[in-house]
């Protein structure tokens, strides 16, 4: 018994050593980013102490004002909130209809959305850019928002439809008998019940929009409309790289998404697991 216990302890020691090494590799780059954002241009090159001798905060002020990160940050917020709101409304309406309501062509339309999810379309940004410039939607916030709504639409509809399919319809039937309209049932019965699935959709699409780069690059060339990912590139390209300020900008870009992730990580895990089952 004792021998068995010792072997187990030994094994656990190695497993933890392995897991902790990977943990360190995940966290150290982020720690280093924050640490370097608190240094000056001269100390950053020579001081290698884990906690630097002198800590300064002004890089964040410089990044926010002179580096335009304040504007970029605000833009990222606007895009993320409007796209996610749009996706939630549009995809839940569609998913509800696909799951509960009857109309001709339903199956064909639904399979279109599924096919879009299955077929990778790399380089679709070329015709998309051409179309947007024809429509005069380049450098236009609404244009970018609509593009991004489309990016998240198929997966959200599929996830929500699967959820609605499994949901018992008793409450909706009761609401219908009470004279509730279809739209009222969607808004007051189906949506509140679908909250777990909506949480997954909100977190996924938030990550996606906040981190999006290529369409933002092609469609938004006006600094006042750029989101953070594009702003980072502009900042790095324009100056002789001011590393402490760049690190402050990176921290400003990464921090909100990490906080949201830590707050909602349960939903992410759940979404991924169900995604694996769906796929």
């Amino acid at each position: 018994m004792n021998k068995y216990k010792a072997a187990n302890l030994f094994q656990n020691f190695f497993i933890h050593a392995f897991l902790l090494t990977v943990t360190f590799s995940c966290l150290f780059p982020l720690f280093w980013m924050v640490r370097c954002s608190l240094m000056t241009n001269s100390t950053i090159l020579v001081d290698k102490a884990l906690i630097p001798g002198t800590i300064v905060w002004h890089n964040y002020v410089i990044a926010w004002t002179k580096g335009n990160f304040g504007i970029y940050f605000l833009n990222s917020m606007i895009y993320t909130v409007s796209v996610v709101f749009g996706i939630v409304v549009i995809s839940s309406l569609a998913a509800y209809a696909f799951s509960r309501l009857q109309f001709p062509g339903k199956n064909i339309i639904f399979s279109l959305f599924v096919a879009a999810m299955m077929i990778p379309l790399p380089g679709s940004f070329v015709p998309l850019y051409v179309m947007m410039s024809k429509l005069g939607l380049v450098n236009n916030r609404a244009g970018y928002i609509l593009c991004m709504i489309n990016v998240g639409l198929s997966l959200s509809i599929l996830l929500l439809k699967t959820f609605f399919d499994k949901m018992p319809s008793d409450l909706e039937d009761a609401a219908r008998i009470d004279g509730c309209t279809k739209l009222g049932i969607w808004r007051h019965v189906a949506l509140p019940l679908a909250r777990p699935a909506l949480a997954v959709i909100v977190i996924y699409n938030s990550l996606n929009v906040w981190n999006e780069y290529i369409l933002a690059t092609l469609l938004l060339s006006d600094k006042a409309k750029m989101p953070l990912q594009r702003g980072l590139e502009v900042f790095r390209g324009a100056h002789q790289v001011d590393y402490p300020v760049l690190m402050a900008g990176l921290t400003l870009t990464a921090l909100p998404i990490i906080v949201i992730y830590l707050l909602m990580q349960k939903h992410i895990v759940k979404g991924l697991s169900s995604g694996a089952v769906v796929g």
Binding site: S25, L30, Q102, Y261
Partner: protein
């Protein structure tokens, strides 16, 4: 009398159907504009020669594809992406599987590990690229390295490992692939862990009773049970790694021409740099076909495996 009622009900039905259809209309409109139309426009443009401004877009049929067949840089870029994908499939997925197996046991801090391993995947490729570019900085100041990786390698006496990771043609692609794996292994980890947790524990008990060792249990129980999840992870890894490019742009920016091109950066160059929109679309079509065919082939292969 009865016909009147019938007509009335069908009128109601049509009205109801139309009302129901309105629910999917917003999604359908956006989808048609931003997915279906670009899909056909992509194919249409791939058969034309166009500089992006000229109102006239002459039809050249398959000439773009012919040119593409002899475009060495293009095929090299496919090879680069393939190399990154190969490392992601082996290194990244084996790591993810090993971590998932470790976290599937009764072990302390399980939840902590699970939370940490998914932090790199939530970061943007831009952020990851810039952080690692800085960590791997090859410059020296006052006789010591600026980049923290080379600095610690010197401190630990591993002088022969000190390296200009991102500017040496021999190491740049592998370095990119490893950082790509660093960013991506959390996805596989979470999915594989979820898969492992659905395996009925009684199967392990039964294997134990039959006298199977831990290795033979792994090969004969865990792997077959995990096949569907592994397949999903493999396909997602291929699709994600083949199309990775923001990480590369942010890691090496313009540097190292000839060693870091991947298909998507080539499409971007054809479009924005050379103003050959038709050619860019031909590249996109060929690349899309490669992706579709390889994921379908994998699916077929695994179906065959299942039957055998």
């Amino acid at each position: 009398m009865s016909t009147v009622i019938k007509n009335k009900s069908s009128v109601f039905e049509i009205k109801g159907n139309f009302e129901n259809f309105l629910f999917v209309l917003p999604a359908l409109v956006i989808f048609s504009f931003f997915y279906i139309y670009p899909f056909f426009e992509l194919i249409n443009l791939s058969l034309r020669e166009w500089n992006g401004v000229d109102p006239f877009r002459p039809l050249v049929w398959f000439r773009n594809f012919q040119d593409l067949a002899y475009d060495e840089v293009w095929w090299k870029s496919i090879w680069h992406a393939g190399y990154i994908t190969l490392i992601a499939l082996t290194f990244q997925n084996v790591l993810a599987f090993a971590l998932a197996l470790a976290c599937d046991r009764e072990i302390r801090m399980k939840r902590f590990y699970r939370v940490v391993f998914f932090i790199p995947p939530v970061l943007s490729e831009m952020v990851v690229g810039y952080i690692w570019n800085w960590i791997l900085d090859p410059n020296m100041q006052n006789g010591q390295y600026v980049g923290v990786v080379n600095y610690f390698l010197v401190k630990m006496g591993l002088l022969n490992l000190v390296h200009n990771w991102l500017s040496d043609p021999n190491t740049v692609l592998t370095t990119i692939a490893v950082i790509h794996s660093w960013k991506g292994f959390g996805w596989g980890f979470i999915m594989l862990l979820a898969g492992l947790q659905t395996i009925d524990k009684q199967l392990y008990e039964a294997a134990k009773v039959d006298g199977a060792g831990s290795w033979s249990t792994f090969v004969n129980v865990t792997i077959p049970m995990m096949m569907p999840v592994i397949l999903v992870v493999v396909i997602l890894t291929i699709l994600g790694s083949m199309q990775a490019f923001v990480l590369i742009i942010s890691l090496v920016s313009q540097g190292l021409a000839g060693y870091t091109e991947v298909p998507v950066t080539q499409i971007l160059t054809s479009m924005n740099g050379n103003k050959q929109f038709g050619y860019a679309c031909a590249q996109a079509v060929v690349f899309g076909l490669i992706l579709v065919v390889s994921s379908f082939a994998l699916k077929k292969f695994s179906d065959r495996m299942k039957q055998a």
